[in-house]
Amino acid sequence: MNSVRAVTRKLEAWQIGQPVPRYDTIHHAIMPPDQTMIVAFVRMAGESRPWGIAWGAAGTEPTVRSVPDGRVRDDVAVLCAAFAEDLLEHLRVHNWTFNPAPQKPELGDLRQVWLPNGQHIAMLHQLSYTYSQTKHGGENQDILRALGRVAGWMFRDTTRVGSQHVVSASSLLGDSYVFPAQDVRTAHLGFQMAWLTTQGNRDARLAAAADAEGLTVSPTMNPTLERDRLSDLVSTWQDSRRDGGDTHTPGDEIDSILSKELRRRWNLTEDAYHLMAANERPVNAGVSELVRLAHSEFWFQHQRIELRLNDPSQGPAFVAHPETDFHGSAAASRYLIHAAADEAYIGYLIHDDPALFREALDDGRAFEAHVLRVDDAGVGRSTIPRWTLRLDPSLPHRLRENARVAPYGSRGHEATIIDLETNEDDLLVTIEWTSRKTKPLAGPLMAKPADDAWVGVDVAFVQSDAASLTQRRSQRVWAASNGPGAWLTHGKASAPMEISGDDGSTDLVYDDVAQIADGVGV
């Protein structure tokens, strides 16, 4: 949203005393409750592993579990293994369910995991670091590794524009509403929900939001709570464990405190889910394409790899390094996938969202034009429709020759700008139809591009994208060992990372280069 429009919307929200919708549609899939798992973490300050986890389907009682001391690795591993069982089943991960997700599931088969905010999503990354190649865990080692792998994929996928499996409730609310408050405060899920759900006037909502803001939603809890209530209990529990005393009493008290913290985070996220599920705005029609892409990503980036890890005859597999792609080809390929997703995202949504279209108009990424002439540049039986358009030259635009545009509301149709001509009063643009040129446009006439009936009609266009081309490049880069940039995309192997534990044990974390190029198994 451009800055002036954002300011105007904030003023409007302030005037009516409540958040206002940012767009006319919801830009994210919202699945039924039984396909929506809600997860919340708490962790001990300074630590990376969870101290407690709450998880469960929306509309049900969550499982809430914690350990007495978040620094005790073996206890945390048991906690995480229990969580992993349900998470892997929920996401239908191969080898951990009787009903694994196929390569091309129905659009309605999407399984989502909702978390309170980005800091909880970062916990998925921490789980990936901790478990994806762990040598510990005893009988739980396999499931912990599976948890590390799926958590790593979930985290990585959230960085892809338009991802659908993992939802940050706070980000989704921020994308869906404009709040009459400072941006830095509206990142807080409790603050957002208080603005959205409190009854009464602006003052009542403002007061409720300020109160809610005082309660942390992050996995790291309020230091006062840790200092005043938990610190002594943890010390007592540690002393009792060392001396063979009663560990149940302090352990239960710790669990009681952590459960309350976890439930509050989980409930807030569930409330956000219900608010979005019951939203009066429809989900954008373009989201179905995003879901299709999300299914494809899950299959190729996780499910197929799980299949191969369990059955090497299915093909080679490697476990992604939690830090980055060390293998040049893998990195280049993933970069292009993300670039394609970024290019395509607005294109999928804009045709079904007038507010998004207006925003694009303001930014010059869309334009409205009057059709002056319709020609056919085709030879023989071929049809190549050409339109000459007149635009208001005073309005912002980013037009250039060879740019590709699509008629607003008719995704799939595409034209290329072949000429730009300006005079004092007009900007004349000639476009040549290149895709679906013999199919009728969705509006406003429902006529084919070559139809003369378009003359004199006002038609809106949006920028088109080259996402499909970028997507193809992501596959070709693997084979481009002699092409330009091969020094970068076909690099050499690096050394494994050695991680020492406090108990003197050592883990070697192998990157993808070692696995792909050197055949190292993990």
Partner: protein
């Protein structure tokens, strides 16, 4: 007077934190006074009847201490391995000098004065005899001279390495230790920025120390530094080598100068003889400049927010709204948005932007 002396002592030690606090909103006089006089904002907030900030978790403090201590045990074996792996020091390097105070886990230095003397001797020794330099030095302590307004300051550098340039000069490289998990490209950018800024202050301070000892021709101070984070879920160090600190050191140098200049304008002559409650009150009475950034560090932010709310100041809707509306209140902007007649060109321009984008 005892209390005033204690405050001064504390002020000497807390320079880095106060400088960073000031830099977050340098236009706020209350913030400047707080930084110059080392008046903690949570104490000022408490005096104003505002709930103080959360402080630090004991678990976080314990984790930090455990991590830092672990790096330097066994002749700094853990950090040495990591530094060698990342090429910060050559493979096979031996030697470790521990200048940490005993109360901070050191083995022999007992007082601040001794630490300052030891650091000075170490720099002179390294300059005179580069071969005698240990490749890893923990916690050298630097004193920044007193300014006109700012008190003299002590800075304890987490760790430095000593290597050799191709010309044979000893090269000192500054390191900053943080318990933050290093998650590669996903590492929290705010944590990274904070660590780099702090390393830049250290580099600036070390530069001052080397200059004051007239050792600039004998010691090469590396323009880059290294950050020591943790590998997530473990106490293994994760080294980020070759962090360019040039800009951060310049920022520190200019920042201290600017803080001194601003302090000259806002500090009263009798401030330095005032007791703590008086200084707290002066911070509370000083003019403020509320900004969105205040929410991240200032315990007085709720008070400023309430004042802005009562004044119908657009800052309560964010910095972007404040920048566009300028001196106009929220109420007036809404009137313009709803078609009110502008009273001047500025309002007419604002109305055009709000209505037409």
């Amino acid at each position: 007077m005892t209390e005033v002396d204690e405050i001064r002592q504390e002020a000497r030690r807390n320079t880095r934190g106060r400088f960073e606090q000031w830099a977050k909103n340098p236009t706020c006089e209350a913030n400047t006074l707080s930084a110059v006089h080392n008046i903690r904002l949570d104490k000022a907030a408490a005096a104003a009847g505002i709930d103080a900030s959360y402080g630090q978790s004991p678990f976080a403090i314990a984790r930090g201490n455990r991590f830092e201590a672990g790096l330097f045990t066994n002749d700094a074996a853990r950090i040495r391995d990591a530094l060698q792996r990342e090429g910060v020091i050559p493979a096979g390097s031996v030697g470790f000098s521990d200048l940490r105070l005993k109360i901070n886990g050191g083995t022999r230095v007992t007082s601040v004065d001794e630490a300052l003397r030891e650091t000075e001797r170490w720099l002179q020794r390294v300059a005179a005899n580069p071969d005698s330099a240990e490749p890893i030095v923990a916690a050298p302590m630097i004193k920044i001279p007193k300014g006109v307004i700012l008190p003299e300051a002590l800075l304890i550098i987490d760790v430095v390495t000593v290597t050799r340039t191709v010309e044979g000069l000893p090269r000192i490289t500054v390191g900053e230790i943080k318990v933050f998990p290093d998650r590669g490209g996903h590492t929290d950018p705010h944590q990274l920025a904070a660590a780099r800024a702090q390393a830049g202050i250290y580099r600036h301070a070390l530069d001052l120390a080397i200059t004051s000892l007239a050792l600039t021709d004998d010691i090469d101070l590396a323009p880059d530094g290294f950050l020591v984070f943790t590998w997530p879920g473990s106490n293994s160090p994760s080294i980020r080598a070759h962090e360019d600190l040039t800009y951060q050191a310049i920022r520190a140098e200019r920042g201290f100068e600017r803080l001194e200049e601003i302090a000259l304008g806002v500090v009263r002559d009798d401030d330095f003889s005032a007791d703590n409650p008086t200084l707290v009150q002066r911070v509370l009475d000083a003019p403020t400049e509320y900004a969105e950034a205040c929410l991240s560090f200032c315990d007085l932010a709720p008070r400023c927010h309430q004042r802005a709310l009562e004044a119908d100041d657009p800052i309560i809707l964010g910095g972007d709204v404040k920048r566009l509306l300028g001196a106009a209140t929220i109420g007036r902007a809404i009137e313009l948005l709803n078609g009110a007649e502008p009273t001047d060109d500025r309002e007419a321009d604002l109305q055009r932007q709000l209505v037409h984008g």
